[in-house]
């Protein structure tokens, strides 16, 4: 039995450590204050439907509304919106 095992377990523990850090993805952040001041998600969804989007899911991420949708071109989009202004927010992927 070698002493490699404790090291292997440490490496595994470090590899799995990010499991503990859930929450915001960091893809975008909105300085949006208290959720009390936000516009309702339904308003954003209605606004996007008006534009021809097919909204699949709306989540809150980093103080923004995060929208999964097919846009008016039928393209898959993951888009971020400021919950007070409902303006589109650029993500670090864009």
């Amino acid at each position: 039995m070698s002493r490699r095992f404790p090291k292997a377990m440490l490496v595994t523990a470090l590899a799995l450590a990010p499991v503990a850090i859930a929450g915001a993805t960091g893809l975008a952040t909105c300085d949006s204050g208290s959720p009390d001041t936000w516009q309702p998600q339904e308003k954003l969804t209605a606004m996007l439907k008006e534009k021809g989007w097919q909204v699949r899911n709306v989540k809150v991420d980093g103080g923004c509304y995060e929208v999964y949708a097919l846009d008016d071109q039928g393209e898959r989009v993951e888009a971020y919106f400021h919950p007070v202004t409902l303006e589109r927010v650029k993500t670090s992927a864009e």
Binding site: M1, R56, R76
Partner: protein, 191 residues
């Protein structure tokens, strides 16, 4: 595979492809996990890489040599349950290849990586893009995969301690002692 001991009492067990596939799968799964919220498509490509690795490993399980073959280590229910009872009773045999429980862990891990990858791919199709339940299924399957990985690591450590051999090192250099060191369990009944 010949059971004749080679130099330094070590016999080749895991061929090069088995080891390369094992460690590249470890790397691909770990980096896919780390990039799960990253911008760009890294996570998707790593997911496809895990599926490709699993596909090659399954093919090798039928075409490969010796202990790489599923036929070498996939055993029926009664044999597996019997082995589990032997483990509890501290009298399980030592296997050069996978023991019956380890063999089923291999199958479970390959299947679960396949399911995680498939559900992830599904999420990128127009039909299922953004659909909450698909995302939840993908995340839940990932959690189950990591639980299996933890169990796999525990099993490797446990079996290594039981039979006084370093199974982690064996997956690196491919060799195992032909005869087990003095064992903590019922001796060295080789298979």
């Amino acid at each position: 595979m010949s059971d004749a001991p080679v130099s330094r009492g070590a016999t080749p067990v895991w061929d090069a492809l088995v080891r390369i596939l094992h460690w590249s799968l470890v790397l691909a799964v770990a980096t896919a996990w780390l990039t799960r919220h990253s911008p760009g498509r890294w996570h998707e490509w790593l997911g496809y890489a895990t599926l490709a690795i699993v596909a090659v490993r399954i093919a090798w399980g039928f075409l490969g040599p010796g202990h790489a073959r599923f036929a070498d280590f996939v055993r029926g229910f009664s044999a597996t349950a019997g082995y589990a009872r032997d483990v509890v009773a501290h009298r399980e045999a030592r296997y050069l290849g996978h023991n019956p429980l380890g063999g089923w862990m291999v199958i479970a891990l390959l299947a679960m990586v396949g399911l995680v990858g498939f559900s992830g791919w599904l999420y990128t199709t127009d039909r299922f893009w953004g659909v909450p339940w698909v995302e939840e299924v993908h995340e839940t399957l990932s959690d189950i995969l990591f639980a299996l990985v933890a169990l796999h690591i525990l099993g490797v450590v446990f079996t290594s301690l039981r039979h006084r051999e370093n199974l982690l090192a064996a997956m690196l250099h491919g060799r195992k002692p032909a005869e087990a060191a003095e064992s903590d369990s019922g001796g060295d009944r080789r298979r």
